[in-house]
């Protein structure tokens, strides 16, 4: 299996598993720190994909997430597409590729993406949603680190 096929397969499996977790995890997490697994998937995949691939993965994640939640598909798709693009911008800065950096990038991108969603499609009062956005960004950053390490082991073993 060549590199692009294995990346496509990994992206498909990761997005599917994250979608299932998104659907089921809500009943277990009851705080402001609700992780957004689709955003984590977008950010982590974006670090291994091309700009187009990253944006496509982001848009797919957004549409799937919006569909499961019952939220606006357009805004979810666009904000996650932007997240995919932002990750590739950070990647082009030629920072060191490690789990800590991946966590930080995920936290920043999650915050920007969720903040944008908060303004274009607000679902609750701004104050509470803003706090939830910060909480989600932090949790996403923490969870992205091990996922990035796993993906690096699978997709990019030479540069590990």
């Amino acid at each position: 299996m060549n590199a692009s096929s294995s990346k496509f397969l990994a992206a498909t499996i990761l997005i599917y598993v994250c979608a299932a977790i998104t659907q089921s995890i809500g009943t277990a997490v009851q705080s402001l720190f609700v992780p957004d697994f689709m955003l984590i998937a977008t950010c982590c995949l974006g670090m291994f994909l091309s700009r187009t691939g990253s944006m496509a993965a982001g848009a797919t994640c957004g549409i799937l997430e919006g569909a499961m939640i019952g939220a606006n598909l357009t805004w979810y798709g666009l904000t996650r597409l932007l997240a995919g693009w932002l990750v590739t911008i950070f990647k082009s800065m030629e920072m060191e590729s490690n789990a800590l950096i991946a966590g930080v990038i995920t936290a920043i991108v999650s915050f920007i993406s969720q903040l944008l969603l908060l303004f274009v499609a607000p679902s609750a009062a701004i104050g509470v949603s803003f706090l939830a956005t910060i909480g989600t960004a932090l949790v996403n950053g923490v969870l992205a680190a091990p996922l990035f390490a796993l993906l690096k082991r699978l997709l990019d073993p030479v540069n590990r």
Partner: protein
């Protein structure tokens, strides 16, 4: 895409993208949910076993004593329906309760996904309640699942009233910040006080009167607009629910 989605939603249906996505994701998601519940139950069993045994015994006693009253209430409800039919008023809504599991909870969007749908007779607009009070209203229905908008959602408005006030204080309940709801009363001198219980008014075809919404925690009179806004804390802890009932 958003407009297409909204037009389907207004009709109580879901768009094909949503339908396909949920159908594909549901099998694995249900597996994760079951695993999650079992792990939580196992932990709870280890940690709280003696307290749970005692609670179980007490609840069995309560259920036994409540059985007599349930029969009596059912008989009286049947009589009310018969009398309404005689006067050509039609039966009251919400007499039948369909038990269902919550298979998805999305606190940020104030929505829950439930495990039954059109095949069980679920329709758009039906109220969802837990044993303690109103949870939300059905928004979209698919064959084997449906999605409800929670009462804390800003997109949901239902008729509400303050219990035990004479004359009845009737207004509209609307979600506020994802955690509380607001009862807006059109009379600025409405005698609402902190601690009052708010229930559904029942002025509709699908939502019955008397389903508890919550307790008033703050009253904000606004004489210049001629209204009173009562901030209501829902009685139901929306995040802690596993099973709910759809009132048919």
């Amino acid at each position: 895409m958003g407009q297409w989605q909204n037009s389907q939603r207004n009709a109580g249906r879901v768009d094909p993208v949503t339908n396909v996505t949920r159908s594909l994701v549901s099998p694995l998601a249900n597996g994760f949910s079951a695993l999650n519940f079992r792990a939580a139950d196992l932990y709870s069993g280890f940690v709280r076993a003696p307290a749970l045994t005692e609670e179980n015994r007490r609840l069995k006693d309560l259920a036994q004593s409540a059985e007599f009253y349930t029969e009596q209430v059912d008989r009286l409800n049947r009589q009310i329906n018969e009398l309404r039919l005689l006067t050509q008023l039609g039966p009251l809504p919400g007499r039948e309760r369909l038990a269902t599991d919550i298979i998805g909870y999305f606190p940020r969007e104030n929505r829950i996904t439930l495990s039954i749908g059109e095949r069980s007779g679920v329709k758009k607009g039906m109220p969802v309640e837990s044993g303690r009070g109103l949870v939300g209203i059905i928004e979209t229905v698919e064959a084997n699942r449906c999605q409800a908008l929670l009462i804390t959602s800003r997109g949901l408005t239902v008729g509400g009233m303050v219990l035990n006030r004479n004359p009845a204080q009737v207004g509209f309940i609307r979600g506020q910040d994802g955690m509380s709801v607001v009862l807006s009363l059109q009379d600025p001198k409405s005698p609402v006080e902190v601690g009052d219980t708010v229930i559904t008014s029942g002025f509709g075809d699908l939502i019955p009167r008397g389903v508890i919404v919550g307790k008033v925690v703050q009253v904000i009179p606004s004489e210049e607009f001629g209204t009173v806004r009562a901030i209501v804390d829902p009685v139901v802890n929306l995040g802690a629910l596993k099973e709910v009932f759809i009132l048919k």
